[in-house]
Amino acid sequence: ADHDGPMKLGRLATEDEIAAWDIDIRPDGLGLPPGRGTVAQGEPIYTDNCAVCHGDFGEGIGRWPVLAGGQDTLTNERPIKTVGSYWPYLSTVYDYIRRAMPFGNARSLTDDEVYALTAYVLYLNDIVDDEEFELSPDNFTEIGMPNEDNFIPDTRPAEEHYAEKTEPCMSDCKPGPVKITMRAQVLDVTPDGDEEGGGA
């Protein structure tokens, strides 16, 4: 081995190797690559690479993800969770586009193109309104996301049904006969198990 770790296994990573794989970006901007791109530059890139699934305005085609809109729907019966209405950090937009999009052709966009697309997604969500707005490492962390403050820690253990931890009821636990209130067969959306009859 070329190092003095306890088991002397593996080898030291080179700087170029780390640079090639270290693509993650944090909310504080750590990891942002050099580069820049404007809303106006992002629009044709989006049209060419993204709109076929996500729609011209980020509205989503079919069941593909909706990217824009949905502000003030998080308490609705059917919330619309988008970059603008739900995502806490802009860094995630850049990071995820660069790492995994377009779906089926990941890692095909330049860093500048990802800046331009990120700016365009901000524009689709009315978070910036100027088509000449340019996103770069210089102003990246100044962009606040509307829903950032609505994320809270895991408070499940404090929920009433867990917190009590008392011996559960074993007999006569409900008054009167139990009634069926909902049936899956009414909805009838389970795939037919094929000719074997599974799944009804």
Binding site: L9, A100, N150, I152
Partner: protein, 426 residues
């Protein structure tokens, strides 16, 4: 050869489908059995093909497959759930399985960019960030670290997620089948991190896959050092490609999304990364518009796997076996209670087989069924005293839009014919 045929010489279709169809229709199968009995069962009184003719030799199946009569025991998917089968999920056929170990070929799949096909000779694992020595390992290197064998369940955070608003999918494969449990062989993550030398400022770990989604999650360093494994074998053989071949992360008790497959990179940092899979996804929206994040542990949970909608009671009244699975991300299961009347009255079930922390537990309740309707429920309790809640209790605390972490008590309605349905009860 007729020995591979579904028809017995009595003409009774012995396949599962025929069994169910005939059984549910009543009459026909019983009548045939009755006739057979009058003159002696021809399956006994007549020489069968498999008694007479030779079967396959040992060279016929270098890698064996289940009997053709088990062809219905397969993973299934629900096409309408997702936009595309490449970023989607399928379901373990829990209703057909027993014990606590899931066969490798039946372990549910969840991919975000399809199955990466990687030659292990081409695979690399990098550790970098806040470490003394950034390192690159080959698979050969990983195989030289000390190994451990551990049995754990892996449950998708979205298991039962379609049921938040009420009964939707009719079968425990679909309502609870995003779970599997195997023996993992791997290297404690601690050994790899020690090899690189985590700096005292290192508080978080980013794990990343080599697939087209480059799946990433932030994991607190305490968990990484406690019990995570970098695993290359499941149930004794190499990981299946769909389970991360050649190497995946094992994060015991925590939501399946964090068990990064095709693991290629571990970065040590001082803050979480706020990745897509821990902001947009795997955060749990509450009724008030706030969302919980970092909801890592899978809560105490159970389900009756038989009888269930895909596994009706086909034998009529009398002795029957109620069986199911229980598990908790907090540790071992202490107890499972079963109700036949929708939660009014409960009796303890029998846990059989090994009781292993953060693994599936198998329970049974052997009853004499009088043929009357039942509303079957199971309720698990884990060693920390956590009790599986009712779905309405979860909804009262969280609303109906959390998507993830639905561990509410499941109800199956069993009618007088033994047919079971997914229902909700008052």
């Amino acid at each position: 050869m007729s020995g591979r045929n579904n028809k017995s010489k009595s003409g009774v279709d012995t396949s599962r489908r025929g069994f169910l169809t005939a059984g549910l229709a009543g009459g026909a199968a019983l009548a045939a059995t009755g006739m057979a009995r009058a003159n002696g069962d021809p399956l006994i009184t007549e020489i069968q093909d498999w008694n007479r003719y030779l079967g396959d030799g040992v060279d016929a199946a270098p890698y064996g497959m289940p009997s053709e009569f088990e062809a219905h025991v397969v993973r299934r998917d629900v096409p309408w759930l997702t936009a595309d089968p490449v970023s989607s999920v399928n379901f373990t056929p829990l209703h057909e399985l027993d014990g606590i170990i899931t066969p490798n070929g039946l372990c549910f799949e969840r991919h975000h960019g399809g199955v990466a096909e990687i030659d292990p000779a081409d695979h690399r694992l990098m550790i970098h960030g806040l470490v003394e020595r950034p390192l690159v390992f080959t698979m050969q290197d990983l195989m030289r670290f000390p190994r451990e064998n551990r049995i754990y369940f892996l449950e998708c955070a979205a298991n039962s997620g379609m049921e938040w608003r009420g009964s939707q999918l009719n079968g425990c494969q679909f309502t609870h089948g995003m779970v599997h449990c195997v023996v993992y062989t791997g290297v404690p993550l601690k050994y790899l991190l020690d090899e690189a030398g985590v700096k005292t400022s290192g508080k978080w770990l980013l794990a990343e896959g080599a697939d087209a989604a480059a799946m990433t999650r932030s994991i607190p360093i305490e968990k990484a050092l406690e019990d995570c494994l970098v695993a290359f074998k499941m149930n004794g053989e190499a990981l299946r490609p769909e389970q991360g071949y050649p190497v995946r992360l094992v994060v015991p008790g925590w939501e399946g999304n964090m068990w990064i497959k095709w693991l290629r990179r571990l970065e040590v940092g001082d803050e979480p990364w706020g990745q897509r899979e821990e902001t947009s996804k795997y955060t749990d929206l509450l009724a008030n518009g706030q969302a919980r994040r970092h909801t890592w542990a899978m809560e105490v949970k159970s389900v009756i796997t038989s009888p269930s909608p895909q596994a009706p009671i086909a034998h009529g009244p009398g002795r029957t076996v109620i069986t199911g699975l229980a598990w908790s991300g907090n540790g071992r299961i202490d107890r499972v209670d079963v109700s036949l009347d929708g939660g009014r009255n409960w009796r303890p079930a029998r846990i059989d087989g090994p009781s292993i922390s953060k693994a599936l537990h198998r329970f049974y309740l052997d009853i004499d069924w009088d043929g009357s309707e039942m509303l079957l429920q199971s309720r698990a309790m884990d060693e920390t005293g956590m009790i599986q809640p009712m779905k309405d209790e979860l909804r009262a605390a969280r609303g109906e839009n959390s998507i993830y972490h639905n561990n509410g008590i499941q109800t199956w309605h069993v009618n007088g014919d033994g047919v079971a349905e997914n229902v909700e009860v008052s």
